[in-house]
């Protein structure tokens, strides 16, 4: 595995993580006291990140491994989070909400919407590529 690719993943992951941190600060969560704020923050980063990865997978198909590493597992991977979703579902189990089952449902819906937004990213990238070629 080329050190250059790992370096690109590290850099993209660092930038993606800072961007996620900024979203978290904007929503003012990470207190594990308000599951709804956690849900808003994870929805923003996860759906946007899934869309970005779909776009990157199509646009970057013929690009270098360094480019793919930076934008794929780096930027999109570092921006999104699954542990943030676990914080919501586990928080619901720990009794932080009287309607915990709704948070489980919301997280499950977010997982499904993530697949959909990934697909939307691939579709937009395909159309962009076709327009650029014609």
């Amino acid at each position: 595995m080329a050190a250059k690719v790992l370096g690109a993943i590290f850099l993209g992951g660092a930038i993606g993580s800072i961007a996620r941190f900024l979203v978290i600060l904007g929503v003012d969560e990470l207190t594990l006291q308000d599951l709804s704020q956690e849900l808003v923050a994870t929805s923003i980063v996860n759906l946007a990140g899934a869309f970005l990865l779909g776009f990157v997978h199509v646009i970057g198909a013929s690009r270098s491994d360094t480019w793919k590493g930076f934008f794929g597992p780096g930027l999109a991977g570092g921006f999104t989070t699954m542990s943030g979703l676990a914080l919501i579902t586990a928080g619901a189990e720990l009794g932080l909400s009287s309607v915990g089952y709704l948070y489980w449902m919301a997280v499950a819906i977010q997982l499904v919407l993530g697949i959909l937004t990934y697909w939307l990213g691939t579709q937009l990238a395909s159309r962009t590529s076709q327009k650029a070629a014609s």
Binding site: L11, G13, P73, S83, G84, Y118
Partner: protein
């Protein structure tokens, strides 16, 4: 000053977590076990951090956030659906919903 240190910790640990996740991603079979593994480990780290109350931003936002991924889950599930491997897509969704939550709860109960 404190916020700058937090940003630096998030960047360093987020970058390191992303590299580890990429390496773990090569462990794949009927399901993307490597990604499931890092998502669960990252959630365990979150459980430890919030239980101990130490280095929460660095560990939760930096290390665990960089180590775990939602976008790769979405891409892999989409590929399963595209290839008509519906059972794998559903299993991937259910396991990514349950295992990270279980890992986090285990860490909280353990501490």
């Amino acid at each position: 000053m404190e916020i700058l240190i937090s940003f630096a910790a998030v960047a360093l640990l987020g970058g390191a977590g992303s590299v580890l996740r990429h390496i773990a991603g090569f462990w794949s079979g009927a399901l993307p076990w490597g990604i499931l593994f890092v998502n669960s480990i990252a959630s365990f780290v979150v459980g430890l951090a919030i239980s101990s109350g130490e280095y929460e931003i660095a560990l939760v936002v930096g290390l665990a956030g960089g180590l775990s991924t939602f976008s790769t889950f979405a891409a892999q599930s989409y590929e399963y659906l595209k290839n008509e491997q519906r059972f794998r897509a559903i299993a991937n969704l259910v396991l990514n919903l349950a295992l990270p939550a279980l890992s986090l709860l285990t860490a909280v109960i353990w501490l």
